[in-house]
């Protein structure tokens, strides 16, 4: 091939930069990069605010001192034992849900393809409610049972939708059916419960992050790493799938393997996120749409994960400190933010006459 003058060379399109070194080349879209950096900065700002605000306030210099290991015992406790694990869990859960939502939207080629619509969230709820109502289980057992519920739902979707699905509708229709069935089961479990279990169940169903510890943050981090690596491995194939199954196969993507891996990793990510935090409404649905608007392209799964992390971290901070000093469950705030965003999306789409 013709010589590339320097190891670093920029392509002529003006929108993307290409880094080349020997036989290797990496493509970077500038706007995507800017959006990712913007999300990280916003996340840092939210983190700084949520770790220093509240009944125990820290000035910026004290926060820095505590983070760098020279805080007082009280400061250490508030930051390292109470606030940081909760923040880390919020970031991990949000990233899991945002990434899962983006994978499902790509897989179904449907802007509404999210674990909330496809029944995975309801499956996790069945797991959690069964553990609470039928077994009176511990918090850890509820988390495990919720994860199993989501994974089981993902498995059923996979079994019922194997084979070709040129329109992408089959997963959506099967998911909607499963969601309806599982919602019925949840209603049944709630009517069977006594008042204490019912209160606990409803609280779980709202989704909350209070009292999360490092152990839960580590669990979410592990799930995010596993799902993230699997998604990265099939990233190219998933991108080809946006052109439709036939075109993707024509380009040399292993459509069957890509779809199966995508479904499994999105299910694991949903299971991890929902099991630890409960079904935080709308995060998985809204995060990929917001990321697509920021980057001007629906291709960046990384940005969807970052936006998800930002939404949950900000919503959790708002839930803690935002409303007249009373703590709210995190899910209430994500639900309001997600619902308002969805309405705005629908209204602007109607004006433009297009789907995102």
């Amino acid at each position: 091939m013709s010589t590339v003058p320097a190891p670093l060379r920029s392509s002529g399109t003006g929108r993307t930069s290409v880094l080349r070194l020997g036989g290797y080349s990496v493509r970077l879209r500038r706007r995507t990069l800017a959006a990712a950096v913007g999300c990280l900065l916003a996340l840092a700002a939210v983190a700084a605010w949520s770790t220093s605000t509240g009944t125990f306030e820290l000035a910026p210099d004290r926060l820095w001192a505590t983070l760098t290991g020279s805080g007082t015992a009280a400061e250490d406790f508030v930051v390292w034992t109470v606030r940081l694990p909760r923040l880390a869990t919020a970031v991990g859960v949000g990233a899991c849900l945002g990434l899962a939502g983006a994978i499902f939207q790509t897989l179904t080629r449907n802007p509404l393809g999210s674990p909330d619509i496809l029944g995975l969230t309801q499956g996790a709820s069945v797991g959690a409610l069964a553990a609470i109502v039928l077994a009176g289980a511990s918090a850890a057992a509820v988390t495990g049972s919720a994860a199993l519920g989501a994974l089981g739902t993902g498995l059923v979707i996979h079994l019922l939708t194997r084979g070709s699905d040129p329109s992408g509708y089959r997963i959506v229709l099967v998911g909607i059916g499963l969601a309806a069935i599982l919602a019925g089961v949840n209603g049944y479990l709630l009517t069977r419960s006594d008042i204490i279990d019912a209160a606990r169940a409803v609280f779980w169903l709202t989704g909350d992050l209070s009292g999360r510890e490092w152990g839960q943050a580590a669990t979410v981090a592990a799930v995010l790493a596993a799902g993230g690596i699997a998604t990265f491995a099939i990233g190219r194939g998933l991108d080809a799938l946006r052109l439709g199954e036939a075109a993707a196969a024509g380009l040399g993507a292993n459509v069957r393997a890509v779809k199966a891996t995508a479904l499994v990793s999105a299910s694991i990510l949903t299971a991890g996120g929902v099991a630890v935090a409960g079904p935080l409404a709308f995060v998985a649905l809204a995060a990929p749409h917001i990321a697509a608007r920021l980057t001007g392209s629906s291709r960046s799964l990384l940005c969807a994960a970052l936006v998800g992390a930002l939404i949950v971290a900000a919503a959790d901070a708002a839930a803690l400190y935002g409303v007249d000093g009373r703590q709210l469950p995190t899910g209430v705030v994500t639900g309001v933010i997600g619902g308002v965003y969805l309405m705005w999306l629908l209204i602007t789409q109607r004006k433009k006459g297009v789907m995102p």
């Binding site: 290797y24 080349s25 990496v26 190219r236 439709g244 024509g250 380009l251 292993n254 297009v354």
Partner: protein
């Protein structure tokens, strides 16, 4: 082992959907360097054959051979370097630009750490040049007319740099001007040395552009050969149940099918 006479063929293949076989024991050879067009009435199995040739459908019996080897024993990536496919009615992701869509054609030549080589860039530019979409490079695919859009998809398949190109009804939903535009482009690609296989609905367009015709009915090949041999009144009647006369196309001297105005009525007139 015998030298393959045809780059792409089916050998005694049974092809269908689920348990329903559309074609049984089908043996078809795609001749190298020809512009092959598959014709036949609706539901005759022509698109099904194309899907089998493109590796989209796996035959339940028999084999599809690419370069003499079973196509399903080869990796998707190596098949994609030999054979490009333009599926029927493809849909582009919303907001994608022409240049981005054409660039997707480089997929089988790329990897995680080989995302955009200088060769990719040159090949994509060449593909856009060949299909006359270079001026549209920065436009969104969804803003284009049907004919322009189809040319962009063909550019994507060209960027794949395959000696074989399969097109499933490339002219469907296009008005007559754009149909001819797309077919002229196909003829041009054929002249430059590619082996083309297309499914077309319009018999006269098939007769005009193809260098090799495969006529199908009820899942079986009725006749194949050069259009002048295949497009005869007898064969057209046999394949399509259409009484007709054949005249020479005044422009190209290829066969032109003129349906008869008086057809034998299925029920006696009152």
């Amino acid at each position: 082992m015998t030298v393959p006479t045809s780059p792409l063929s089916t050998a005694n293949a049974t092809i269908g959907y689920g348990r329903v076989a559309v074609s049984e024991g089908l043996t078809v050879d795609i001749p190298e360097g020809e512009f092959t067009v598959i014709i036949g009435p609706n539901a005759c199995g022509k698109s099904t054959l194309l899907k089998a040739l493109a590796r989209t459908l796996r035959p339940s019996a028999g084999r599809v051979l690419l370069d003499g080897r079973d196509i399903h024993a080869q990796s998707t990536r190596s098949v994609a370097k030999r054979l490009g496919l333009l599926p029927q009615g493809p849909t582009a992701p919303d907001g994608i630009t022409v240049a981005d869509l054409v660039a997707r054609g480089r997929y089988p030549h790329q990897g995680l750490l080989r995302q955009w080589s200088a060769e990719d860039e040159a090949v994509v530019a060449e593909a856009m040049e060949a299909t006359a979409v270079t001026d549209l490079a920065a436009r969104g695919v969804d803003e284009l007319s049907g004919g322009q859009r189809q040319r962009v998809w063909i550019a994507m398949a060209l960027a794949q740099q395959t000696p074989l190109l399969l097109l499933d009804e490339p002219t469907t939903y296009l008005d007559i001007t754009h149909q001819i535009e797309v077919l002229d482009l196909c003829a041009e690609l054929h002249r430059k040395g590619r082996t083309l296989v297309a499914v077309l609905h319009d018999l006269n367009q098939a007769a005009r552009y193809a260098t090799h015709l495969i006529a199908m009915r009820d899942g079986a090949v009725v006749a194949e050969g050069p259009p002048a041999d295949i497009v005869t009144a007898d064969i057209v009647d046999e394949v399509f149940d259409l009484p007709c006369v054949i005249i020479d196309d005044p422009e190209t001297a290829t066969p032109l099918v003129i349906p008869r105005s008086v057809r034998p009525a299925p029920v006696a007139a009152v």
